[in-house]
Amino acid sequence: MVLWKDFVRGLWDENPTFRLVIGLCPTLAVTTSAVNGLSMGLATAFVLICSSALISILKRIIPDKVRIPAYIIVIATFVTIVDLVMHAYMPDLHSVLGLFIPLIVVNCIVLGRAEAFASKNSVMRSAVDGLGMGLGFTWALTLLGAIRELLGSGSLFGYSFVADGASTLGIMTLPPGGFITLGILMAVMNMISDRLKKKAS
């Protein structure tokens, strides 16, 4: 029951993208298509689960004063693993996501969970919390990528819906489209949770 609560927290109530509004750089930069959003989300989820679990194991060993640099080293290690594995087995994806793979290190979600959750809770709960947060981040990125891909290039997960040569809203896959889509999505999420709250009360 406790584990279930830890898991669902990241999916909606404390969704990193829509509720906490953190980890925004990759959210905007790589979501030009649904596949890119999905893979970035999964890469971050992997780092999040592993680093949360390891930091939770080491929580009694790491001295309090140097905990932040220690957390960063743990996180950077897993990021390097993801970076090298992707480079070796998924070179196309690696070149699309490019710079934003090493930048998972400074994604505030990862360090934030380490500091706020993993350093205080058991290994199992920390890993589940990492999984929930990671999947919450993944669905947000995939949704954003899907909307931008659909409007900007007329396709979804690479399957095209429009005739060749038909004009699409190209701006949606460019930087301005990212900002505007996320702004509107935020407003929609606020509306939905307001409705839910009214119904509950």
Binding site: L24, L84, P102, G178
Partner: protein
């Protein structure tokens, strides 16, 4: 590439915040009034210029000769974190007034992905030492410019009548989108 082109490109054409999506968290978090936007921007610029010099030396005198480029992410982030700490301590001792003005922003700079991002980008572009420092300066000033522009707009926004769900970050993102659209006009400048 001349130094001026690098500066102009980092400052306007490929603005770090509005075109490359780096440093969005502080861009959204600290752009509520102009004074703190300027403080944050200048502190970041300062760290970026120093980081440009130090990460260049690490990459080309330590990591490359020893065949350790895979330690790049790890070593750069540690160096940036350590440097931010040093800058903080140095300012605390030498200029308490400046420290009070910049104080709260300094620790935040470590997790600003614009800094790690630009350090890695400088290596990918294999800039020379001077070029890398100029690139850092341009990136920092570009970050400051975007932050101050945004803060100016958000100060006025407080009196605007905005639909309830859009209030807060929602409208801020849409404004950032419009700013980004405007910066698209600089494309082709260099």
């Amino acid at each position: 590439m001349t130094l001026f082109t690098i500066l102009l490109s980092a400052l306007l054409v490929n603005n770090f915040v509005l075109v490359r999506f780096l440093g969005i968290c502080p861009f959204m978090g600290v752009s509520k009034d102009v004074d703190s936007a300027i403080g944050m921007g200048l502190a970041t610029t300062f760290v970026m210029v120093v980081a440009a010099a130090v990460t260049w030396l690490i990459q080309w005198f330590i990591l490359e000769p020893l065949g350790l480029p895979f330690l790049q992410t790890l070593s750069f982030i540690l160096v940036i974190a350590a440097m931010v700490q040093l800058v903080e301590m140095f300012l605390h001792k030498t200029s308490p007034a400046l420290y009070r003005a910049m104080g709260i922003f300094l620790p935040l700079i470590t997790t600003n992905c614009a800094i790690l991002g630009f350090a890695i980008m400088g290596v990918q572009n294999s800039y020379s030492f001077i070029e890398n420092v100029v690139f850092g300066l341009g990136a920092g000033l570009g970050f400051t410019l975007a932050l101050v522009l945004m803060a100016g707009i958000r100060e006025d926004l407080r009196f605007a009548d905005i639909p309830k769900p859009l209030r807060g970050v929602g409208i801020a993102f849409i404004i950032a989108g419009l700013l980004s659209l405007a910066f698209g006009g600089f494309a082709g400048l260099v």
